[in-house]
Amino acid sequence: MSKPESKKSGASGVPVIIIVLVAIVAIVIALAYWRGTPSGGAGPRPTPTPAASNTPNMSSAPLGATPPNYLGSPNAAVTVEEFADFQCPSCGATHPVMKQIQGIFGSRIKFIFRHFPLPMHDKAYDAAVAAEAAGMQGKFWDMHNLLYTNQQIWSADPNYRQVFKGYAEKIGLNVDKFETDMAGIGAKGRVDADMQRGKALNLTSTPTIFINNKSVAYADMNVPTMQKMIEDALKDTQAGQPQAAQPAAKPSTAANNSNSTASSGNAAPKQ
């Protein structure tokens, strides 16, 4: 015991100096990197959203794009609302799961897709606008599918806008109108509206999925678990009061949805 103590007292200042030096270097590097990163700007910008209360108030949040992009029945007792980013790999991995869920439940649920492009994904916002521009010609879900199934291709392509144009041709859009709509405020406004809703709900990651306003953990975003959750929600609504699932999407407005070609009754989007 005495040996180390004598050693400590002999050199007690040295470790403190080293520790303080390392702390200073770490802070300087952090500040330099912070300011030097072009996408970083001057201040903190938490990737998905600022943090973190996980108790969203669905009814008081902005409605999002109205009418929303949805599949299934506008009057379904169970609403599944997904916030996702076309460039996010987790969302791409969840896409086939959601397709299967739609296949299983069809018109028994209302599946709403909301845009929540993350700032870290440089092409995600444009991809969302492209899907909305396709939606203006009634092909939202076709573009949605193409964007997810080819995510790795366009995400890595600097000329991704040309790639989107190619997809527009492929699904039979009027390409001139598609390009005009992509540049216009209509499509962007819908994406922005969805993002405002997501921000108000304090989303912290994508994909975020709500089943009748209850959020689903990412670990549960697989077919068996979600199937069980939706079946439980269906049972609950049959047993109790038939709950108006989603304030954003009143059936009357959703029925007028220009984007919802696949909306009523079309359970699974076409590939």
Binding site: S39, T47, P89, S205, Y218
Partner: protein, 143 residues
């Protein structure tokens, strides 16, 4: 010998600080991290709901923990035995938490992030260095 281990531990902790700081800065500057080794795994892991606790990215906790480990290892190398014991406790907790995060990546997220794996490696190394230091103690006395 033990002192050498403590200096090695402090150097390893510096790697951990750099790794965690990188992820924290990338988070707050919304920078996409290059993920050459594990494909798209970094994105999936770092944007998952597991990547934050109480609204803060795990990198923040990692940077603080590694800095504490570094400070304790340095203090221990300059003779503070209590610091080395605390280092042992911290390294055990960090290695345990890293094991949990690997489990989460493997079973829940089903993707891996190379920076998280590096952090798991550094924290495990800190733990192993502490274990070795326990083993070498009697031998160093006989020399």
């Amino acid at each position: 010998m033990k002192r050498t281990l403590q200096f090695i531990a402090s150097a390893i902790a510096l790697i951990g600080i750099a790794d965690a700081m990188y992820l924290t800065i990338a988070h707050y500057t919304a920078t996409e991290v290059p993920c050459a080794l594990t494909g798209a795994g970094c994105e999936m892991v770092l944007t998952s709901s597991y990547a934050q606790i109480f609204g803060l990215p795990l990198g923040v906790y990692g940077a603080v923990s590694y800095f504490a480990a570094f400070a304790l290892a340095i203090l221990a190398a300059y003779g503070n035995q209590t610091a080395w014991k605390l280092f042992g406790v911290l390294a055990t907790v960090m290695a345990g938490f890293s094991a949990y995060l690997i489990f989460v990546q493997a079973y829940y997220i089903r993707a891996f992030c190379q920076y998280c794996l590096l952090s798991a490696l550094t924290s495990t190394t800190l733990f192993v260095l502490f274990l070795i230091s326990l083993a070498v103690k009697p031998r160093s006395e006989t020399i």
